[in-house]
């Protein structure tokens, strides 16, 4: 339908192929891989990253980045924990507060970038990451908190059906979010503006689009998505833990987007590709566990995968530029 799909069709075929090959390899080397409960476990693991990657993708499309998504998710979870300890037992209210908090944090990130003119979102969001890490420990008194209301745990815990222990509700929500976001990005003027801002900020501004608002929206959405991830994490693990704020959640989210075709130079990336990226990372981590590979080696391989993905993006851009040069020379 739209060119966005056609443009990246070739690349995504490669990404799909990579996912299929990985799965085939794991299925052959380890029969536990295609065990239904393992498949469901992969989906559960995918869901958390998929929430974070949604917001990350919006920021990456604008040629920005949000390094605070992981810490934001952990902080939102800890905030809920702290409020619960203070006697707020209404699950719906807790979740609403978390979503608002995540959104406000994202809004601050966006405002620092657009209205206060910090040079690059790297600065504001990296600073914010540390602030949130500290805050998460402060509000919980550095303790893990459990016994959350059932309604809070629903998103990360509930499953449907019996196959492999049941299909995770969280992943269904992720799918809904991804479909909605896909429609938003490809069919609405704000969605289209996000790509245009990433492709050429100045031309977009001079066309009468308030790019500051567009960017602020993206970072706010990123915060809201991080809050959803935070809620999801409580259901999965049953606890919130401020120390998790230093986990490489941001890196996983960035990797998923880049593997899925997004670019640090902005203007590119799709929800479909990002979903593929999330699945690839989840399968990769799952495979490491099945093959009993040391977690330090996991880190090495994941780091290399990210570098490779970016490298491929760079090479692709160079080849494209060369092709254009030759075409122009004719």
């Amino acid at each position: 339908m739209t060119k966005t799909k056609k443009k990246s069709g070739g690349l995504q075929l490669g990404t799909i192929l990579a996912l299929v090959i990985m799965c085939a390899f794991l299925a052959i080397t380890n029969k536990n891989f295609y065990n239904p409960s393992n498949i469901m476990s992969i989906l559960k693991q995918t869901a958390f990253n998929a929430f974070l990657a949604t917001g990350m993708l919006l920021c990456l499309i604008t040629a920005g980045i949000d390094l605070s998504v992981g810490a934001n998710a952990v902080f939102c979870a800890c905030l809920m924990g702290a409020l619960k300890e203070m006697g707020v037992n209404n699950g719906i209210l807790l979740m609403l507060i978390a979503i608002v908090a995540g959104g406000v944090i994202g809004f601050i990130n966006g405002t620092l970038l657009t209205r206060l003119h910090l040079p690059h979102p790297f600065v504001s969001t990296l600073g914010m990451k540390n602030v949130l890490w500290g805050l998460a420990l402060v509000v919980t008194g550095s303790r893990m908190i459990n016994n959350f209301p059932e309604s809070v745990q629903f998103l990360g815990k509930q499953t449907i059906g019996g196959w492999g222990g049941g299909f995770p509700v969280g992943f269904i929500v992720v799918l809904v979010v991804y479909v909605v976001m896909h429609i938003f990005l490809s069919r609405t003027s704000l969605g289209r503006s996000i790509y245009c801002a990433g492709g050429n900020m100045e031309a977009t501004r001079l066309s009468g689009i308030n790019t500051a608002n567009v960017l602020t929206f993206c970072y706010t959405m990123s915060g809201v998505m991080a809050a959803l991830a935070g809620i999801y994490s409580i259901g999965r693990s049953g606890i919130c833990n401020g120390a998790n704020a230093t986990q490489p959640y941001d890196t996983d989210a960035i990797a998923a987007c880049i593997i899925g075709g997004a670019s640090f130079t902005g203007g590119k990336g799709t929800m479909f590709g990002t979903m593929l990226g999330c699945l690839i990372i989840a399968v990769l981590r799952n495979g490491f566990t099945l093959l009993a590979i040391d977690s330090s080696v996991q880190n090495i391989v994941l780091g290399l995968v990210i570098i490779m993905a970016v490298l491929m993006d760079v090479i692709r851009a160079q080849m494209e530029a060369k092709r254009r040069r030759l075409a122009a020379g004719k």
């Binding site: 060119k3 003027s189 492709g199 050429n200 031309a203 501004r205 001079l206 066309s207 689009i209 203007g267």
Partner: protein
């Protein structure tokens, strides 16, 4: 080594870029100990000429001789090694590093493996002093003014024993005193036998400083004469003396109301009390040299940059336009001079670029109406004759002319009343130019107001109903099409700082 007559000589140099011949059979010969002026209109090929000399571009045809010896420069290093140095208009100064660091960048003096700062400071101080600058070379370069920073660039050239120093518009950002110092330095360098190629827009400087002056126009060599054989008028005639062929299909609309009026626009250091009026059914040409403040003025009117003072009236009503969004809502469209940098989203499709300024008109509620976008887009492709395989083609793939048409299409979709075109035909071929002119014609005939910035005299004369001439952020003259001043020489004169008698 035997002294050749010329220190650097270009013979029959031709340089082509896709679609344009930037230099055609160019000649230039600079003698040792000579200050040689180079002058030409915007786009005459001065920059390309400099880049060929400095090895940034390779000539397609023709030869370069240095001291009578034939040379081929594949890259800037080879040109530097041959003794050609260039002080660019945009200085290459690392402001945070010391003067010494700047002068010795990439040619550091060393003691063993360590840098010998003592020796470098002494030498730097010496070189700067010989250029008339008694300064402490240990201080960061950024603490000094533009004049000194320029001297640092010249010092770099002196340090590598340059035989010829190219100075590209060296006085454009200097104050009066600094200009005097620069001229003294030039004469000093001249007395050492160094040749200077002095590129300038300012005639009075050429007359004061140069021994000979070469004029180029449209990439072609026009003439070289001793300075005594040039006059103000003969220089200008040589520069602009193009014949006006019928490349401008000018059509006339009916003069309507005053759609845009600006009063006393001020931007500190850039615009000084700019006032003009633009009418419906007319093309107002904004003429002047590059840097006259025309682009800055229209960007400020459009809300793209903040104004420090002044009033803007649209349809007689005073407006405060703080953002392009507000300006567009007020019925103003600005086609910027930098098509790729600020006109188009290159990685996006024609489809998307065409609706960039009119998302609302192409949406139903929340969602974009792809059918309407497609129909409207196809209309634009047909009516503007955009050559493309499909509406989904990425605009980065199109030729310059077709890209420009996409930008025009975008602004036609915005349905403005006041269309500002900033250098609308720069870098596009003749055929596409005529099509751009036709768009302006049809706008004017529909009663719209068109403002066209152009640095090309024939275009200004060919298309404008009225011309506002600017220089140094000020309006120098306003000339009607039926005025006796509506000719190249008089408009040029105003653009170069001369005054026209007041009737127009």
């Amino acid at each position: 080594m035997a002294e050749a007559e010329y220190i650097v000589e270009l013979r029959d140099v031709t340089k082509r870029f896709p679609g344009v011949v930037a230099l055609s059979h160019m000649h230039l010969a600079v003698k040792p100990g000579e200050i040689h002026g180079l002058i030409g209109e915007n786009g005459a090929g001065k920059s390309t000429l400099i880049k060929v000399l400095t090895g940034v571009h390779m000539a397609d045809e023709g030869e370069i001789y240095v001291n009578g010896e034939k040379m081929v420069f594949h890259n800037p290093n080879q040109s530097t090694a041959a003794g050609i140095a260039c002080v660019y208009q945009e200085l290459n100064i690392e402001k945070l590093l010391s003067v010494t660091d700047n002068i010795f960048i990439n040619k550091w003096l060393k003691k063993g493996v360590l840098l010998d700062y003592e020796a470098m400071h002494v030498k730097a101080k010496e070189v700067m002093a010989s250029l008339g600058q008694d300064i402490d070379p240990r201080k960061p370069a950024g603490t000094f003014g533009m004049g000194v920073q320029q001297m640092i660039e010249i010092a770099k050239a002196v340090l590598i024993d340059a035989k010829m120093i190219i100075m590209d518009e060296p006085t454009s950002s200097l104050g009066e005193r600094e200009v005097e110092q620069l001229m003294r330095t030039c004469r000093e360098l001249k007395s050492r036998g160094i040749g200077i190629l002095f590129v300038s827009h300012k005639l009075e400087e050429l007359f004061e400083l140069c021994d000979r002056v070469t004029v180029i126009r449209d990439g072609e060599y026009i003439d070289t004469r001793d300075i005594g054989d040039w006059t103000n008028d003969s220089l200008i005639t040589a520069m602009v003396g193009r014949t006006l062929e019928n490349q401008f299909p000018k059509e006339f609309g009916e003069k309507g109301e005053c759609m845009l009026k600006v009063e006393d626009l001020e931007i500190g250091g850039v615009l000084h009390g700019v006032s003009f009026e633009a009418y419906g059914g007319q093309i107002l040409g904004l003429s002047g040299l590059v840097g006259a403040g025309r682009t800055e003025a229209v960007r400020a009117i459009f809300g793209a940059d903040p104004l420090d003072g002044g009033k803007i009236f649209v349809h007689g009503k005073q407006m405060k336009l703080k953002s392009p969004k507000q300006a567009i809502a007020a019925g103003i469209a600005l086609l910027t001079e930098d098509r790729k940098g600020s006109g188009l989203v290159l990685p996006e499709s024609i489809r998307t670029n065409l609706i960039l300024s009119s998302f609302k008109k192409h949406s139903d509620g929340l969602f974009l109406n792809e059918k309407r976008i497609e129909k409207n887009g196809q209309d634009k492709i047909d009516s503007l004759r955009i050559k493309t395989p499909s509406i989904d083609e990425v605009v980065g793939q199109l030729s310059g002319g077709n890209q420009q048409k996409v930008v025009i299409g975008k602004w036609l979709n915005a349905e403005a009343d006041i269309y500002i075109f900033d250098e609308p035909t720069r870098g596009i071929d003749v055929g596409a130019k005529v099509e751009v002119y036709n768009v302006m014609n049809s706008l004017v005939k529909a009663g719209k107001c068109v403002i066209m910035i152009s640095s090309e005299m024939p275009e200004i004369l060919g298309m404008s109903d009225r011309v506002v001439v600017m220089r140094g952020g000020r309006v120098m003259a306003t000339v009607d099409r039926d005025s006796k001043y509506f000719n190249q020489e008089d408009i040029m004169k105003a653009a170069w700082g001369g005054s026209l008698d007041d009737e127009n």
